[in-house]
Amino acid sequence: MTGSGGLRRVVVTGLGAVTPIGNTVPEFWAALRRAQVGVGPLSIPLEDLKIQIAAEVKDFDARGRLKDFKRDKVVPFADRYALFAAAAAGEAVTMSGLQTPFQDPYRAACIIGSGGAGLVAVEDAYRDLFIKKRKATNPLTLIRIIGSSAAAHVGIEFGVKGPVFATCSACSTAAHAIGIGRDFIRHGLVDVAITGAAEAVITYGTMRAWQAMHVLSPQGIFPFAKKRNGTVLGEGAGILVLESLAHAKARGATILAELVGFGMTADSKDMVNPDTEGPTEAMRIALDDAELAPSDIDYLNAHGTATAINDINETEAIKKVFGAHANKLAISSTKSMHGHPLGAGGGIEAVACIKAMRENWVPPTAGLDEPGEGCDLDYVPNVGREQRVTYTMSNSFAFGGLNAVLIFGPPPV
């Protein structure tokens, strides 16, 4: 059950998601099947916001969703982002069929990151202090804010006593967490890892910060389209349960996919403007790691943020890596439906990739009526596609030029 170099093979046995188009994996997948778009008017007080749309998670009932959690304190102790993480992790662990608390707790890891962490708690606290002039912040404020709180909550709930920490790399946060979790298993540090990321950034203050960057669209998120004029903030969580192949087989688990490749690079150039070299090399490294040829990839879930520069830059990078196969490759940006959930994106999109393989169906890029200049690949416009999907690639390219690419393959036979 080891690959080349005696490294252990790593498989996915559980998926969990909270997204603006579905609060569980089945709901999320059904929404992708319908090409449902989760962007709508903001539910937060609009005040003087210029951008009045976002892809918000709707009707999220934390107490109901976490009712089986052993600790009743998760809800008051957690920021919205950590509640998303807990809900998605609960779904993923249940799907995996793993017994918790883990029998061998030091052989389990929990790596759940966030780009912004407890921003809802920050805003609540600052409103209390600066606007309501209250004498103190809620004493749980700090516990809610800290960026490792989602990992800690989930780790405590499931009895993880091995490595528990968060990753933080803006829009590549989830992909880094999943990749690192895989490597911990691959190299024998642990047998099981709960990995991914969560994000809850739709607050007045964060919207103002994004507004000042002038990269949000007032209309919607239209990746690779001529009409694209910026991204739309999303939120949610995407969590995978990873295991060594031997561990999964020994307990007779249903194996959903193998995590075959991971590549990470940094552009080392600019905080906001992406470069083609970093993304290109991240995809190449992931393919090398997976020992696959570019032509083996059937579906690529693009970073596809619908900013003017990302979509053209990513298209260029894909062409460099895939050569002639770039034109045959099914590429889509599911952000066209679930918005841009920043750090959680790679986790939610990994779920989409694995479901695409399981069902041999590629989700579309919604809202793609007319392609933008230089966006001349097959982005599966508007309608999903039945096709054989054996290997999938998921791209995450973050502010700061931080790139992480995951490749999933079929369950080992």
């Binding site: 009743d72 102790f77 209250r134 004498k135 103190a136 809620n138 004493p139 749980l140 516990i143």
Partner: protein
């Protein structure tokens, strides 16, 4: 029991996992199974309800917080101090 005491008991009960109806001035806080963060929440709620500030450090044994009655006494004296203090501009 006066208003201060009953209000404080109400706050204590709100933060207890299994609220009890037999809480009186002599009840020891340790009997209420209050954890350190619960205590911070309780102090926060009391401060908010009575418009006072309770000097307290979670790292130190708080003699004022041994029993429900000692908390009530402390709050009463802080209310008196706050009321007697010159109004801030």
């Amino acid at each position: 029991m006066d208003e201060v005491a009953s209000k404080i008991i109400e706050i204590l009960k709100k933060h207890m996992k299994e609220p009890r109806d037999d809480i009186g001035p002599s009840t020891a806080l340790t009997d209420l199974k209050i954890e350190s963060l619960d205590l911070a929440m309780i102090v926060f709620d009391i401060e908010d309800s009575f418009g006072i500030e309770i000097p307290y450090n979670a790292n130190e044994e708080a003699a004022d917080f041994k029993t429900v009655g000692s908390v009530v006494d402390r709050v009463r004296s802080l209310i008196a101090q706050t009321a007697g203090a010159p109004a801030k501009a």
